[in-house]
């Protein structure tokens, strides 16, 4: 076993010190060391978007970062979206508009959707398709995800609801 390093990961508002090998990806550390398994691994080479998290408010691929690089950053995973039983509008819309089937891409999709709406409060279907192209879904054919994000944007513009 190679030497480990200590790093404080600030995830969903809580800081935790973990001891990891430098080679450990941020995604693996979030899943294994913090036990937050909502961040999924679909490809480990930055194509599928299942491991999407927000870092200082911006979407990043957690499979393409090392855990030791994330000290000092504020990270939000799917578990940090919505407060308790009070779901985020994006989460509600995905369920209501059937924007998920197997659910494996869903955490990344919801975070990507929140990111899109945060930059463009009233996105057109075409804008959603272009902006979310980095997240892959194999189940839905995307149409209902687009509808979900549009619906969430409408709710968010009236009730608010940033990440």
């Amino acid at each position: 076993m190679a030497e480990t390093m200590s790093v404080v990961l600030n995830v969903n508002g809580a800081g935790r010190s973990v001891s990891v090998e430098p080679r450990k990806t941020l995604a693996d550390a979030i899943r294994e060391d913090l036990g937050l398994t909502g961040t999924h691994l679909g490809c480990e080479h930055g194509v599928c978007g299942a491991c999407t998290v927000l870092m200082d408010g911006e979407v990043v691929r957690s499979c393409l970062m090392l855990a030791v690089q994330a000290g000092g950053a504020e990270i939000t995973t799917i578990e940090g979206i919505g407060a308790g039983d009070d779901l985020h509008p994006m989460q509600r819309a995905f369920s209501e508009y059937h924007g998920l089937q197997c659910g494996f891409c869903t955490p990344g999709m919801i975070l990507a959707g929140i990111d899109v709406v945060s930059r463009n409060p009233d996105p057109s279907p075409q804008e959603i398709r272009e902006e979310m192209g980095g997240n892959i879904c194999r189940c839905t054919g995307y149409q209902k995800i687009v509808e979900s994000v549009q619906a969430a944007a409408a709710i968010m513009s009236t009730e608010g609801g940033s990440a």
Binding site: E44, H98, C105, R138, Y142
Partner: protein, 791 residues
Amino acid sequence: MTTTQETRWIGVSAPRREDAPLIRGRGRYIADIEPAGTVHMAILRSPYAHARINGIDTAAAEALDGVYCVLTAADLEGIGDFPTIWRLPGQKESNTPALAPGKARYVGEPVAAVVADSRYMAEDALDLLDVDYEILDHVVDVEAALADGAPVINEDLGDNTIIEYTFPGINALGVAGDIDGAFEEADEIVSGRFKVGRYSGVALETRGLVAEWDDLRQTLTLHSGSQVASLLRTELAAALGIPETSVRILTPNIGGAFGNQWDRYPEDILVSLASMKLGRPVKWIEDRREALQATVHGREQLQEWQLAASSDGTVLGLKGRVLSDQGAHLHSVGIGPAWVTGAAAVNQYKIANYHCDVVGVATNKTPNSTFRGFGGPEAMFGIERMMDKTARRLGIDPAELRRRNMIQADEFPYFSPGGAVYDSGNYPAALAKALEAVEYDKVREEQQSLREQGVYRGIGIASYIHVSGFGPSAILGILDYYTGGYEGSTVKIDPHGRATLYTGMIPMGQGTETTLAQVAADQLEIDIANVRVVWGDTDQTPYTGFGSAGSRSNVAAVAVIKAIEEIKAKAVRIGAGLLEADPDDVAYADGRISVKGAEEMRSLTLADVAQQAYWAHKLPEGEQPTLEATYVYDPANFTTACGTHVAVVDVDIDTGKIDWVKYVVVDDAGTIINPLLVEGQIQGALSNGLGGAMLEEFVYDEETGQLLSSTLMDYLVPSFTDLPDFEIHHLVTPSPHTEGGFKGMGEAGCFPAAPALANAVADALSHLGVEVDQTPVTPSRLWSLIDQAGG
């Protein structure tokens, strides 16, 4: 507590009960399961397409800190492999081994396995395994594999032909048609040669397993994403040589399966064996490169068809030869998909004279097995392209040619010369509705005016049938398909009147849990919130003959209905005793058990009766306590979903780029349980179908035998901007073959997708005479066709 209410749940777009954990990141997928003491497996896979393994030096890997064991083929003494369950007459035995025994036959074949403290360490150990490979000549093309002097993939089989199977085209009277006569009589004979590309489900979640051997109880628990846990349990126990009663399969959330998870895999054996050997939990999570190399591939066929037509467009006969590229070994279903291609190729048309030879061919490629559609989409590609070629040759509109040949609504049940009995449908009506929705005449006019402006618009029609709901079991027996076609359901009413439904179905994203709860709530006439669905535990759920597939909810739903009928009858008998009435005068309605005509006065809730059933103080003579029933339903026959799709595209003739204009779907899957989920299934299946039509392909290098598409940069799945919005319409022709009239529908969307696209592209380029006969239709391939045609 039973609330009575008015809602009928069947036909309602009920929101999914599956969603709540998934949208919060609280789903539980295989990779999320990690019992205390778990160690991790990684697998060494062959880097060569064909190579003898002269030895494996494991010493350095075994000496690495944190490594628990290394498994090679030598450690599998006494361990069996998984049988091919579909064993057609004449099919040579060519089971997939757990570890390559002395010879690796495709890139990605498991050669050795390592177990270590972490996946990181296990991969470090793989680096230290030293395999002495002797590289052999390889073959990755079906025609080359059949040629004289081709490298033989499996010496025990003699050559690379695994099976030659003939469909003689037997009609309803049990006699073969006159195929030669049809071709002699024809005014036109149209030929086509089609390459259906190799692609697969490529679920976003890769496969994974956690095996836990319990030394105390001498039991093996395998956490698996298998779609057919019962069969996995049976076959795994046999392979490991332990009693089936000692094996429990637990299924968590599945991140997509698409048929690929219907199969049994080498890793099922490897993790179980390692756990038994080490006495601790062993976990293996497939990585993406492994997923592309070693989860089964699908589709790939080379088809040659000839169609005999009279000048008025009547199809007189169809004959073909289908070469199915099976890869290096037969996997769980053998050449099953290719057999279905032969059975389904006559599609919606009255083709009296039919003949088809299906040949299963071994190549140095990943096994080709179960994938959403299962041979049907391949069949649709061939026949629907042939219909368009024929229309073009005869100068008849492609919609009209189809209409003239379709089986009519009053001709069901229809005995197809492919061997299936079509139960019901209205093919011309679906076609008409699709043409109306797409505004066919208007689009044809626009096509002309746009072409003058240099815009090449094409319209592609593809009609389909989807034979689903495999059963009854006796027919599977006739087909040498060694499993049953039934589904079981157990329903238990608790003393408070709530229902628990146990199903062998495995939800994998299609909303099975919600759908079955809807059926149960409707039958019991109780609130859906009071129905719990238990799935994914072979210790609790009924044995399933066939397991979960995209098109099996129809069969499972009937098992639920039948079990609940028994429960209601028992509730009426018990209730009648309590109400001091004759059972004939008591009825179950609105979730209550009441004396007919005195519902206000003499009535009990389901909970009242259930409580009594559990107390068992005042049961009628001979009545067993508690309130539960099990029903195992074996369907009367297959169901055939059907419909027509129309694709409209623009082709950039300078780049070969295809842009979507419109996509219209008319489908008929009988009675619909949940319209929202049905739409989701159609759209998702279309994305699988169009993915293979345009983007997805496992490409092998002829020179090296390497799989070139082993990352998601090279194997391209559709993203948001690659698919159109789908406009979906339904016809509802209930199936007479199932109670409730349900037909399987989860796969149908992928059936006509590729031919609709290919027909549209060929139509856009009709002025050049371009024919689109290979999938996927990549820009490079399409430009090459345009270039050769002088465009």
